[in-house]
């Protein structure tokens, strides 16, 4: 199940954040900031993209390094929210 969330998050990254990568080729364990090189603007885009994709509300204090470390950690966070 978490994998399914991961696939949708990758799609958000590619479509909404304009990440120039093949979604299939992104390793779910790679880190968003260091490996994928997302800056604060891109991370905010990702937050909004995830809210819309999954119909959830992410509170500002939930946007932590731990939850947003990688696609895998983000998928676990989203799964617990929906």
């Amino acid at each position: 199940m978490t994998e399914h969330f991961a696939a949708r998050i990758k799609r958000v990254l590619v479509e909404r954040v304009d990440l120039d990568r093949d979604p299939e080729a992104i390793d779910p364990t790679c880190t968003l900031r260091d490996d994928l090189g997302l800056d604060s603007a891109a991370l905010l885009d990702l937050v909004v993209g995830i809210e819309e994709e999954f119909g959830i509300e992410v509170d500002t204090d939930e946007i932590t390094e731990e939850r947003f470390e990688s696609i895998a950690s983000l998928a676990r966070f989203v799964e617990a929210k929906v």
């Binding site: 990440l19 090189g37 604060s40 603007a41 905010l44 909004v48 500002t60 932590t64 390094e65 939850r67």
Partner: protein, 421 residues
Amino acid sequence: MSFPEETSVAIVGGGPAGATLGAYLALAGIDHVIFERERFPRHHVGESLVGITNRVFHEIGFLGKLDAAGFVEKRAAVWIPKSGKGAYELRILPDPRFGLDHTFHVDRARFDQLLLEHAASLGSRVEQETRVCDVLMEDGRACGVRVEQDGVEHSVRARYVVDASGRSTLLGSKLRLKERDPLFDQYAIYAYFEAFDRGPASMRDHIHIHFLPTRRGWVWQIPVDAEVTSVGVVTERDDFRRDGRDPESYFLRHVESHPELRRRIQPARRIGPFRTEGDYSYSMQRLTGPGFLLVGDAARFVDPIFSSGVSVAVNSACFAAQALQEALSGDESEALKRYEERLGAGIRVWYDFIKIYYKLQNLFTRYVRKPEYQAEIVRLLQGDVYHPEEITVLDRLREDIRTIEKTPDHLLRSSLTDIPI
């Protein structure tokens, strides 16, 4: 026509603030003279307008002329991250009550001339190539101006003097009201280019803001007409000082540090010189005093990230015209006080929005996509800042920033700048 010896209102400067004030006063039947140092057309920076100006131009009967003048129609803004990848496009359509679904990017030489001519057509007396050497004061009250035209000096008595002298800040400097902004000390260098690649066809008429990898650095891309694009680098002045190079290589180094800009400027040919603006942001201890008011850039200059220049100019002119009507018919202190409050409140909203913007760039883009805040953010970006009681999104943004600051492992904590909110 002989030179005027006295008038009700002497307006120092014929740019958008002075010309708009002239137009309002002409419509109200208040005699006045606009003194302009240059002979229009003359160059001026600040080519991008915001939607709220439509209201003012509608009121003074200028909107039709403006729309017929063939300027580039502006309907949206685009933010491009420093990676050069991706673009955030936001449509910012103005209030449709004034008949247009767009505002404009303008060649300021032509725009300012049209506006000044419009004021003259309504009855403003305009004296160009007439330098205001000094504001005459009597017992602490402004009571006229001393001007120089064709090498001859004249004194013109006036019941009110309005300083619309722009960044020259004639009265603010004379009366030592000017205070350098404690947070923003920026420096801009810009030039006009032909054949600059404005990006995808659907976006080429939008204003573009390209973020630079340097602190508070960004580049504007504004279409001045079908061929000419204004491109300007804004950075902290210290960054320029440290660089130690000439403005041109400084400009090119920054433009080339941005992958997308580097590509876009490649086919471009520069037309005209590089120009610079230093000593950027300032405020005035007060915006009025006995016998005088400050309008437009002469009242305040804030970082131009949201294209507020012409908007503050024409809105302050609108408020000043009302204040002058009231003051001339009786209650000066109440009228001037109300002017201070109205303009001051609007500028505070601009300034707060700018501070939050530089605290965490793009935080506001999160709220633009939330239906309950979208309309407010679009209003702010249109320059509709004069009803602060209706703006709640800034409180929400401030609250967000505080949450980020106090959440130790917040993802965006390291992206916060040191600007106090």
